[in-house]
Amino acid sequence: MALENNIELLDNYVANRMSATEKAAFEQQLQADPQLQRELEIQQQIREGIRQARITELKTMLGNVPVSAVPGTQLTGLAKLAIGTFAAAIIGAVAYFSFKPDGKTETQQPVITEVTPENPVVSQDETKVEEQADVVVESTTPDRKTKEPAKPNKNKKSEPKKDDAIASRPAIDAFDPAEETQPVSKTGDEMTAPVVENSAQAASKNDILTAVDNTNKKYKFHYVLKENKLTLYGDFESSLYEIIEVFNNEKRTAFLFFKNNYYLMNEDNDKIKPLTPINDPVLLKKLREYRAQKN
C-alpha cells in the first residue's frame, strides 16, 4: 500500500522532476523503506532502457542523414582545376592510351567545362538542405562567392589555368585539422569563428556526396554512382578513401582510391557494381602522379 502511494513520487524522482527539497525528503523516506528501494531500482532500469532506446533511435536518424565522405580526402574545386590538365590524358588512357603532343588542345576542354557543372551541384545541395531544414544555409553563401571568382579564370588557355591552380594550392589545404584542434582547445567564442568558416568552406567543396553502407551482406566491395551520389558498399571504415573526379568535355569520370588501389567508377546506371582495381600501368602511373602532386 505504501508503495502505491509513493508511485508518483518515485516516478518524479526517477524522471528528475523534483525540487531539491522534495528530493532530499524522498531520499530520507527511501532509506527507511527497502521495498521502495527495490522498486526504485527497477524504475531506474526502466528509465535507463527508455533513454537507451531513444539514443539508439536518434543515432539511427542521424546515421541516415547524408553527409560527405571522409574529411580532407576529397578534392577541392581548385584541385580539380589542377588535374584538369591531366584529364584528356587519363581519359584517353582508359579508352585508347596514346599520349600525343597535341593532347594539349584536348586538355583545354576539361578545364573550361570543369567548373561549370559544379555550380548546379552546389545549388542542388543547398536546395536539399533547405527542403530538409526549412532554412537558408548561411554558411554556403560566402562559399559560393569564393567559387565564383574562379569562373573568370575559365578562359580557353590551359597554361595560365594550370598556373592559377598551382598558385592557389595552399588554399586546398586550408582545412587543416590542426587549425581546428588548437583554437577550440582554448576557450572563448572568438576562437571558434574561423573553425566554423573553415568547415563550411570545406563542406561545400564536394560534388559527389558519398555514403558508406557496410550492412549489406550481399555487396562487400561494390558501389553505385548516380547523380552525384555515391554509395560504397563494404568495409570502407578501415582505411581512408578518396574520390577523384576528372572532367573531360563535360563528362565526369570518377575514380576511387582506397588502400593503395585505384578503381574506376561508372555512373551510367543505378546498378550496384563491383569495384575492380585498375591494372593498366600507364593509367595507374597518371593517377599516382596526380595524387603525388595533390599531396
Binding site: 524522471a15 535507463e48 536518434l58 574529411p71 584542434t181
Partner: protein, 179 residues
Amino acid sequence: MDEKEIFERICKGDEKALEFLYKKYYRMMTKLVITNSGTEEEARDIYQDALIVFWQKATSGNLVLTSKISTYIYSICQNLWRKELDRKKRLSNEEKDTAVSLDTETAERDKIILKCIEQLGETCKKVLMYYYFEEMSMQEIADKLGFANTDTAKTKKYKCKMKLDELVKAQYSEHDFLD
C-alpha cells in the same frame, strides 16, 4: 538559420534542426577524432553521441549556452574521445575479463526492457521517450504529439508507463530478477 534559431528549434525538440546541425559540423567534429588516431566510424559515433548529449541538455531546458554551439559540441566530442581512448587503453591491459562478467546481468535486463519497449505502440514510445529522455514538459509533449491538452498527455504517459512496467515486471519474474 542562425545560431539562435537553431538553438531555439533544438530546445523545442525539432529533429530537423538536429539533422541540420549534424550535417553542418560533420566534417569539423569527425576530423577531431580522425586526426587523433580514430577511424571514421569511431569519429561518427563520437560525434553522434556528443550531439545527442547536447540535444538532451537542450530539450530538457538544462542548458544555457554561453558559447557557440560548435564550441560546445566540440568540447563534448573532445571529452568523449578522451574517455574512449582511456577505455581502449584499459581494455588493452587486463581489466577486460572482469568488466565483461560484471555486465552480463545488466545487459540481460537491458535487453528485456528494450524488448518490452518495442511492444508498445509508436505514440506510447514517443510519450515515454519525450518524458524520460528529452525531459519535456507535459505541454511540450502535448504540442509535439498533437494532444488536446496537458491532461491528455499526462493520462497517456501514465497509461503507457503502467503498460511498460507490467511488461517488464512479467519478464523480470520469468527471469528471476524479482525477489
